[in-house]
Symmetry: C2
Subunit: 300 residues, 2 copies
């Protein structure tokens, strides 16, 4: 894991310095796939019981079992991955996603191969996979939304006025901001697309809604949020099945009474969220549509 | 810990069945204090560097170090605890908190002694102390806000209408609710006091604000929230000092742009939150004032 860790730190450093970092992300994926193929066992775990049933696999090694993944979306073969990356890059360069299946396979493989490695060999570094997801999607956005027309940040500053300003001596109350994972702003219109990135949402689903609500209050009409995730799956070791952890009622409640998100974007869309009663309340679609949706909003 | 665990389960069962459970809570505290006094070392840990500096202690045993606690608020002596409980009960019975210091010492000791035991002997049961905090405060509320004039629940039902209701087959989207820790409703006026209970808030501070906002949207003017906590402290083992983890800017932002909480109630009030620039934005006070504030709102 030292190699992967070192590559990740290097990619993150470049990303944080606003330097191109997509090549570095692919390099990490190559290292992860190589390690998984040679030092772990990729095998069937069990099914998600739905309509239809879905097969999930896991990586096993080092005495650990990884999170479940969909084998037909995960490119474990390195040569096939290289071909898929070429297609992914072409689609990004052409601004035209003609093969969304391959496009989403690349996103799924890049993020999942990293997650599997951390699950197996560094299970205590729980936050690192989420950071890598952010670096990867952010790296793609760097290319698609270039300066100076667009600006990429992680925070939206919001000034909160303090009635008794004299008593403030550290300024902590005065300069504040909404910390999101990624914000892309059209520097001409000042409109912004907020992209909360969560590999899975779990109980943190409230955050993007709360942030959107704060932005609606502080900057009416200026920001929209696009919640971007990989999947919502969990191993159930007792039954060797996979659960899709969904909270449709909670999301519906938030969407109606807290704020409106512009969409939920997944690689492995949870079946419950794909149903028509739910998509009537909130757009739910594949991650391949994320950029086109943001383009529409930002007049790219 | 088997005895404490068994007592806790019994108290929780009674509480969940709406039976009086305060005596059971004290019994748990007696067992915790006895175990701490005989099987752990209660000792100085270090200081919080503030104005003034504050001394914090820890319980040490079983190879573990507990969270930090304020020794002058924690009653480790059993006989002294019994006397304090009598005072606590008298003040509750008289509806008149004449000795808030002792009142808050009892709350602090009941909750902290349980936390310390779990930190030392069952550190993996991370959620149990929070549940006990809820059982204890809920048990006090059962007495102070009796049926039938008042009603105590954990959820506030909110119906979310689903446009395409025919497609729903499990009803998950239709009946929903805001899950809070404790809601006390005046059955005559239908006004309610929401009491989110968190031993410390950490990153979960957004929840009570989001919930209040949803309630403002679904039931304008009917609910107020009273966020109730023990402290916001964390050990810093490197420097053997204690940090008070405060997010004044975030709270100010939420209070202004997300929703308004009616107050923050603490046993060990973080110094940053007690400062006047902050209390100008949101009421911050000792837990002894919680019930009087709720009384005012609910016309008790």
């Amino acid at each position: 894991m030292q190699t992967i860790d070192r590559l990740f730190q290097a990619a993150k450093q470049r990303y944080d310095a606003s330097q191109p970092s997509l090549a570095e992300c692919y390099e990490i994926t190559r290292a992860c796939l190589t390690k998984l193929n040679t030092e772990a066992t990729l095998r069937r775990f069990g099914e998600f019981r739905g309509a239809p049933n879905l097969e999930y696999w896991v990586a096993e090694g080092n005495g650990n079992l990884s999170r479940p993944y969909r084998p037909e979306m995960f490119i474990s073969d390195l040569a096939e991955f290289e071909r898929a990356v070429v297609s992914f890059q072409d689609q990004m360069d052409d601004d035209d996603i003609t093969d969304p299946v391959t496009f989403e396979k690349v996103v799924y493989t890049v993020v999942s191969s990293f997650c599997l490695c951390y699950d197996v060999w560094k299970p205590k570094s729980r936050k690192t996979p989420g950071t890598f997801f952010e670096v990867f999607i952010g790296s793609v956005c760097q290319i698609r939304y270039p300066q100076p027309r667009f600006q990429m940040t992680k925070h939206i500053p919001i000034v909160v006025e303090v009635p008794d300003a004299d008593a403030v001596d550290d300024g902590a109350l005065q300069g504040n901001s909404v910390s999101t994972d990624l914000v892309i702003t059209n520097t001409v219109t000042q409109q912004g697309a907020v992209i909360p990135l969560k590999i899975t949402t779990r109980e943190r689903i409230v955050q993007p809604f709360a942030h959107q609500r704060i932005l609606d209050s502080a900057y009416p009409g200026r920001y929209r949020s696009y919640l971007t995730c990989i999947s919502e799956v969990q191993r159930d070791d007792k039954t060797t099945t996979v659960k899709q952890i969904c909270v449709p009622g909670t999301v519906a409640l938030f969407q109606k009474h807290l704020s409106e998100l512009s969409g939920l974007y997944y690689c492995d869309i949870p079946q419950r969220y794909a149903r028509q009663d739910f998509t009537a309340l909130i757009r739910v679609t594949g991650i391949a549509n994320l950029f086109d949706d943001i383009d529409d909003w930002l007049n790219r």
